[in-house]
Assembly symmetry: none
Homo-oligomer: 430 residues x 2
């Protein structure tokens, strides 16, 4: 079985009218990836019998494995069994095993077997049942045009159990002998996707084909993914990892094998490990930095307080910023953010502080301080740094990126690095 020959067919009006977001196919993809199998193509159609029939015919002629998801329910818009039977020119007959399952399912619930439910036992003649130990809809499998077709229920919990317990083992058995796919990810901040790609391209012209390189622009962390599918790739990978680590240095937030963590989580983990605390003083980000930190369970161990000083008056009242500084230098100035950070440290018992003040827009910009201007101050009482950046974009994008930079600056401070972040050079303003 070649990897390119697994396809996915989803059915359901709700998947096409915007009522729900399709999470099933991401789940199927992740489960298959564990077995080293990739999905190359996916088609989603509305609950329309003739569309389904022609799609099944076409896809099964292209693929070795076709997973169909949805349309197994009892209602009149559930067509999968009927469509598959039509596509294969087979009659739909009552499947005894499916019928027994429905009887048992109804009995367990103390309900009668309705004609609607009975429809769920009418399957293409000769198909194999895939048991459903949660819901009423059994899955089923046929072979058509040399393609294994697996029909699965749309309910996520039922689908997941069926995949794990029955479909994946069957697929794995077919693909024995193949090498296991392994994935390593780097989370990167401070380098754009195109720049990162260019950098690797320029520095490593001899990058081995056996270590596939993938990029995913995140919000805000970028993911750099190394995938190997062969023993040769696995042998090459450590050298690739070492070279990337040396090349990217502090731009690498983390190297991960499992679930990616947020920037805020990385900052909190480091703070907790050091037994230190953080306070935030926010103007233009309006509480977003504090909110990102406090989304993380256990953040109270390291996050002490957030001062959202949106007006000048409150910068003075809450953080003790000298009104003369505000009058002479303005709220968006080095002096103000330094005073805000100092105030946050003094008014709390935090070891680290980060302060931001800027022009988030769309209004409020001037020639000297256009929309996108932001001053940041960060560090400890003994070592407070400050910098001015220009971050153009929408208000929300500005706030998100500034919050990410604020968190990244704290991360770098905690790492006690000499390396200067890229954005402090490229986005520098004034």
């Amino acid at each position: 079985m070649t990897q390119s020959k697994v396809q996915l067919l989803l059915t359901g009006n709700e998947l096409l009218n915007g009522d729900i977001v399709d999470t099933n196919s991401a789940m199927i993809a992740r489960e298959l990836a564990e077995t080293g199998i990739e999905i190359k193509r996916k088609v989603t159609v509305s609950d329309d019998l003739s569309l389904l029939v022609s799609e099944i015919r076409q896809m099964s002629s292209m693929a070795d494995v076709l997973i169909i998801n949805g349309g197994l329910g009892p209602t009149s818009d559930d067509f999968t069994a009927q469509a598959l039977a039509q596509a294969m020119d087979l009659p739909q007959v009552q499947h005894e095993q499916a019928y027994e399952h429905l009887l048992a399912w109804c009995k367990q619930r103390g309900t009668e077997l309705t004609p609607a439910n009975l429809k769920q036992a009418l399957l293409p003649r000769g198909c194999d049942i895939i048991a459903n130990r949660i819901g009423s809809a059994v899955g089923f499998k046929v072979n058509f045009q040399r393609c294994d077709i697996y029909c699965t229920p749309g309910v996520p919990a039922e689908l997941k159990v069926m995949l794990k317990e029955q479909i994946l083992p069957a697929l794995a058995e077919k693909s024995t002998g193949k090498h296991k796919t392994r994935i390593t990810k780097f989370q990167v901040f401070g380098l754009g996707e195109s720049k990162l790609q260019q950098l690797i391209h320029d520095q490593f012209p001899d990058w081995p084909d056996s270590v596939e390189l993938g990029f995913r622009a995140g919000d805000p962390l970028l993911e750099l993914k190394l995938t190997t599918r062969t023993p040769a790739g696995e042998a090459e990978k450590p050298r690739c990892q070492a070279r990337l680590s040396a090349l990217l240095g502090q731009h690498i937030v983390a190297e991960i094998d499992g679930t990616p963590k947020s920037l805020a989580e990385h900052v909190l983990t480091r703070l907790i490990r050091k037994g230190q605390k953080l306070a935030t003083a926010e103007s233009c980000t309006g509480g977003l930095i504090a909110s990102l930190l406090t989304q993380i369970p256990g953040s109270s161990q390291a996050f002490e307080a957030g001062f959202v000083t949106y007006s000048n008056k409150m910068k003075t009242r809450m953080l003790g910023v000298d009104p003369q500084i505000l009058a002479s230098k303005g709220a968006v100035s080095r002096e103000t953010v330094l005073a805000m950070a100092k105030g946050a440290l003094e008014k709390s018992t935090a070891d680290y502080a980060v302060a931001v003040s800027g022009v988030a827009g769309p209004g409020g910009g001037s020639k000297e301080k256009p929309v996108g201007t932001v001053w940041l101050a960060w560090g400890t009482a003994k070592n407070l740094q400050s910098h001015c950046l220009l971050i153009p974009g929408s208000r929300l994008a500005f706030q998100r990126y500034v919050a990410a930079i604020a968190l990244d600056l704290i991360r770098r401070s905690l790492n006690e690095t000499e390396e200067i972040a890229n954005y402090l050079i490229e986005r520098s303003f004034k």
Copy 2:
């Protein structure tokens, strides 16, 4: 143009390997639905040039309109322009308008135009540009096999603006002659979807078929949608609107024709209209309420300050909460949130305050104050109210729902209503 002839082609490995859940197509579907257009079929393919080429050829032969999403970026796995050129047997040439856009985009950021970015100006000869006023990737449009093909960027914010400002108007123009679909929405808060549906079903058994009723569970506002597609429906609609208004009362946050507004935006609009200011005092929501408010342009007119007092010590230092109250009653108590709200009003010049303190979880719960317990206090110095609720769910869901309730309580205070919010009854605790 018949409705069945709009198809969607999505490209990106990340959409097939389980790395991300595709939210773009649900957004496209909702936007198109506003214009009365349905998507019947959607295909997702990996970043594979030959697959894309054959898909474009096939889909454009079936559809009147094909929207392609993704693959416009600067990296080597972005193939849309190349695939479209190949499918149409056209050369890829540097498009002057796209080139100008890239130059301006780089200039605004103070960066150089890299070869990678320059690739974004290499488009199928003769295509029309769809401007992108946010990102680097311009969209473009061609007509092939009598099908209008729109190529759009994968970044959701860029896609959304392009759809709203350029693609939808173009599609709407093509569908003239048909009766215009008109949609009116009510934004509702404090009633669940099934309860709302039941209520309307019970109260209005004679609801006219010509006024289609739709529901969309939002986060946190629920949308109740009235769609008319005929003159008869339009004639019936005002009576339906009036009956819904009477039935739902203060549960209705707003009746809207255009873009839905957030709860925070509704609160700010009311505050600004009254010339009043708000301060927040947050423990368990950790700055989320302040962040939701300050996302809105112009929020400085009505949002004064946010106190994120995450530790007990900071509740005393920043808001003057009596340490004896914290010691005897605990941080999650009526006395504490009242003192927090009072402190926020006293330490600022705000007219309104809202304070929250609760157990967001997953840790920190006790038998008396389980995870999900939250105390809220809200109102003016003269009229501070408080209430305890139980909001079970994940940490993030808890924080989001509590923030929404806090904003809704301020909205109701500003409306000076006697009506008691449903959640204060149904979620009441202690």
